[in-house]
């Protein structure tokens, strides 16, 4: 395969019989039209239309189980007025890279990267405009052939129809010539939601059949020509260096070809401070991964600790954070409305509690892996990564090859969850291939994967809150997290007159990374647990207490990158819908309880009610959950429901089990034997979802279902048993 450069594609399309590739230039849109997100004037290289009217479509966006491989084509095809049944989906998710005027590497065409639940939002206007442009080109081409006004023609299911006469052209008839047209962007009309014929309806995943038949979709399944398989013996303690190893013994294992020392790498990392980016290690390169693993075992590597990361201990760190949250040490004031001290003095009752979360592991089901083939002046990287440009950048940095000469072949990710946004697993494969001058495929063992994770930060959140005449009177929240800053805009801010939010950081050099709504989960666990505790203190129903808090329904403007307002009416609607589905207030059996919690994450509103049973021996079982989500227009209701189910379960797993334990700078939770993970028998039997109808622009659904889960569970356990859990993971305090 060669670099999927546009010209190359055009050449291919000219060669293949009958097929043409649509590449559209919008004359009125230039590279400089958007300062923040430079967009190329070249559009829509993802669609080929054949003469027989069939269509081949590639995915404009990476797939990691968040269904963008289905949603991206849905948006494009809907605005194009394609017949969905005529589309064949190509497995490729091509990366198009270019440089903006400043010389930065940026995505050409769609924003293929995925993360922060922003993917749909980032591509919404682009893909719709691209689709509408192609539709317009077809219409104008037909109008010219019929010598009529384009305004009397309509596009429908891959055809242009002249309604007065009933004559038709298929897209296949028009495509080749239509592709050469220039269209005036002023003539483009995006559809109204009522006109959508693909979006807004349940569509199954386009590649589900490949998955259920075991097709090789993942990077780990790739059989790249001449690639040596690599297993790496990695330093068990952070910052440790190689003391010695038996190279000869490893080389004596049949199939082992080379043994290479990998350097340790430290540097600045999200969200703040410096940490270990890559562990020192000894790489064993072999004909098969099995041989490489046996070679790795034969190394019997010994290690020497360094002082840089000595003595890191997650349990002690959690105590540090808790002490910090409960101390008088002033934090950074993220918000200071009214007079919180006075309000708390005036309150009828004041509650003060601390809510804690441990480090969370990612544990993507597909262990990290990457194929790198670094040649003299070009390179190929085959990988499932959330931000494919990072692979090209890493080649440029490590091997001095222009990033635009790097072909990135994207593979479906077997889970991402933020972990596959890190560059470490790209960099080591690229470094190694560059070093040995041969293609390599590095596969991580599960132990590598869990030991060398970039964890979601641990957190302790102390809240002092008062109630007066049944309403919240004073809210003082102190977030302490491993590093970085808390968020400040979520409810009950805006709704409580006297509200102070402070942020403090523990600042120990644990390796941290993005997770699935982790800051929002830390907030939601604390806020929604405290709301429940206040409701009980005020002898109010937890649902009614929340609904009263949300009154009056109002959109509060916020200064936040992912949303510009926070709407208490939308939140209230989700609480109400979830509660109605659950039959809130109905009579329950002994030991049963309902818990409610909600949160706004990246502009999407979610509430859940969970029903649990707790018996006299503190044995917990999760029975059923009901969720409501307001994510604007529902592009694919089927997959929104799937994310509500899976995301809520991920949040329950975090609440119950997920705790990465680090002792003396060594990760102890090295595999699923030590890190318990939720299985079917522990999951609610059913999760029902209601999607709030909306014509607003769609917002993300990958992360928003996660944050409410821990509080919904804690509140349900309290309702069922009177036991109040404020420290995750709950399985330390209750049987399951």
């Amino acid at each position: 395969m060669q670099n999927p450069h546009r010209r190359h594609f055009l050449k291919i399309s000219a060669l293949s019989a009958g097929a043409m590739l649509v590449s559209v230039t919008l004359p009125l849109r230039t590279r400089s039209s958007s300062a923040q997100q430079p967009v190329s004037p070249q559009w829509c290289v993802y669609v080929s239309i054949n003469r027989d009217n069939s269509v081949v479509m590639q995915s404009p966006i990476m797939e990691m189980g968040q269904f963008m491989r289905t949603a991206g084509p849905m948006i494009l095809a809907d605005e194009m007025d394609l017949d969905w049944s005529l589309i064949r989906f190509d497995l490729n998710m091509p990366t198009y890279l270019t440089r903006n005027r400043k010389g930065d590497l940026v995505y050409d065409h769609a924003q293929i990267g995925t993360g922060g639940s922003q993917t749909l939002k980032n591509n919404w206007t682009y893909l719709r405009t691209a689709g509408a442009t192609i539709r317009r080109m077809m219409i104008e081409e037909a109008a010219e052939r019929w010598d009529c006004s384009p305004e009397r023609l309509t596009a429908r299911l891959s055809q242009i129809i002249d309604t007065p006469t009933g004559r038709k052209f298929s897209y296949g008839d028009l495509a080749e010539k239509a592709a050469r047209r220039q269209v005036d962007t002023n003539k483009l009309k995006l559809k109204q939601p009522a006109q959508f014929h693909i979006m807004g309806k349940n569509q199954p995943a386009i590649d589900a059949r490949d998955i259920v038949t075991g097709a090789p979709l993942f990077g780990i399944d790739e059989n790249y020509a001449n690639a040596l398989r690599v297993a790496i013996d990695r330093a068990p303690a952070m910052g440790a260096q190689i003391a010695g190893y038996d190279k000869k013994a490893a080389l004596a294992v049949p199939g082992v070809r080379q043994v290479v020392e990998m350097p340790h790498e430290s540097g600045p990392h999200w969200p703040d401070g410096e940490t270990q980016l890559r562990a020192a290690g000894v790489a064993v390169l072999a004909d098969s991964f099995w041989a490489a693993m046996r070679g790795k075992d034969a190394l019997k590597t010994t290690w020497k600790d360094t002082h840089q990361y000595a003595g890191l201990n997650s349990k002690a760190h959690r105590e540090t954070l808790k002490a910090l949250a409960r101390s008088d040490q002033p934090g950074k004031h993220l918000r200071d409305d009214g007079e919180v001290t006075r309000a708390l003095q005036q309150a009828d009752k004041v509650l003060e509690h601390c809510y804690e979360r441990s480090f969370l592991a990612h544990a993507c089901m597909e262990p990290l892996n990457c194929i790198a083939d670094v040649r003299k002046d070009s390179a190929t990287v085959v990988v499932g990564h959330q931000w494919p440009h990072a692979a090209a950048l890493a080649v440029e940095e490590i091997a001095g090859i222009d990033a635009l000469k790097v072909e990135v072949i994207n593979k479906r990710m077997g889970g991402g969850f933020g972990r596959k946004g890190e560059a470490d697993y790209l960099r080591e494969a690229i470094w190694l291939s560059h070093k040995v001058g041969q293609p390599v495929q590095v596969i991580w063992t599960r132990e590598n994967d869990m030991e060398r994770d970039f964890f979601a930060p641990a957190a302790a959140v102390q809240i002092r809150a008062g109630v007066k005449q049944g309403r919240i009177h004073g809210w003082h929240m102190r977030h302490a997290q491993t590093a970085g800053e808390a968020e400040s805009h979520n409810f009950p801010a805006h709704l409580v007159r006297d509200c102070r939010i402070e942020s403090l950081a523990g600042n120990e050099p644990f390796p941290l990374g993005t997770w699935r709504g982790p800051r929002q989960m830390q907030q939601a666990f604390a806020i929604e647990s405290m709301l429940d505790e206040l409701a009980h203190a005020a002898a109010a129903d937890p649902l009614a207490f929340r609904l009263a808090l949300m009154e009056p329904a109002k959109a509060h403007p916020i200064d936040y990158w992912a949303a510009d307002h926070l709407d208490s009416g939308r939140m209230a609607r989700c609480y109400r819908s979830a509660a109605e589905m659950a039959g809130w207030g109905r009579k329950l059996e002994k030991g049963e309880g309902l818990g409610i919690a909600g949160h706004v994450t990246f502009g999407t509103y979610v509430a859940f009610v969970l029903q649990v049973h707790v018996d006299d021996n503190k044995q917990l079982s999760l029975q059923k959950a009901w969720g409501a989500i307001d994510c604007g227009f529902a592009v694919n209701p089927n997959h929104i429901r799937a994310q509500m189910e899976g995301g809520f379960i991920d949040g329950l797993n975090a609440a119950l089990f997920n705790e990465a334990v680090i002792e003396d700078s060594r990760v102890q939770t090295r595999n699923f034997g030590q890190l318990r993970w939720m299985r079917m028998g522990e999951t609610p039997l059913e999760i029902e979802t209601e999607i709030i109808e909306s014509d607003r622009e769609p917002t993300g659904v990958g992360e928003p279902p996660v944050p409410p889960a821990p509080a919904a569970l804690a509140n349900a356990i309290f309702a069922a048993s009177g036991l109040r859990l404020r420290r995750m993971p709950f399985s330390e305090h209750i049987r399951i």
């Binding site: 189980g65 077997g414 299985r679």
Partner: protein
């Protein structure tokens, strides 16, 4: 004597020095059958689940040297004629997969469960389906198994 066994009804032979190789790596690297996945390497997650003589087994720890005369079935052998197995079809109908990585193992576990207990209760589903799904597709897996069990009741599934 060389070890012989069958994979999806094809005879295979274990080469000299390969007896200790776990079945998973034999399938993935020797036979290039990559539907069975590497997840944990310690028999915990079940992504590597295959059938040995009709029983669901985690293949990541099992040395091929112990498989003399065994019949192995993998996800690739579940729909030999191209027509999906009822469990695969149920997986499609319920649109179960998210990232998809664990699903071959889940399907193999479910097929084995339904071959032993053709109308499992919810408790039996919970007890037998112990593979990890990191995306949390469990509620849809349960629905798919219930659906396949109904199909099963109408028309018994025969061994492939």
């Amino acid at each position: 004597m060389a070890i012989h066994f069958s994979v999806n009804q094809q005879e295979v032979e274990v080469g000299p020095g390969e007896e200790e190789m776990p079945l998973l790596w034999f399938l993935r690297e020797k036979l290039r059958l990559t539907g069975s996945k590497f997840g944990c390497g310690i028999g915990q997650c079940g992504a590597c689940t295959v059938h040995i003589n009709g029983t669901a087994v985690r293949s990541c720890l099992l040395p091929v040297g112990q498989l003399q005369g065994s019949q192995i079935r993998t996800i690739e052998g579940l729909a030999p004629t191209g027509q999906l197995h009822p469990v695969q079809q149920a997986w499609l109908d319920q649109d179960v997969p998210q990232c998809g990585y664990c699903q071959a193992g889940q399907i193999m576990a479910a097929v084995s469960l339904l071959e032993r207990i053709n109308q499992p209760t919810d408790q039996q589903i919970s007890d037998n389906m112990t593979n990890i799904c990191r995306c949390g597709t469990y509620t849809r897996i349960r629905k798919a198994i219930r659906q396949a069990a109904e199909t099963h009741a109408e028309k018994p599934v025969t061994e492939a």
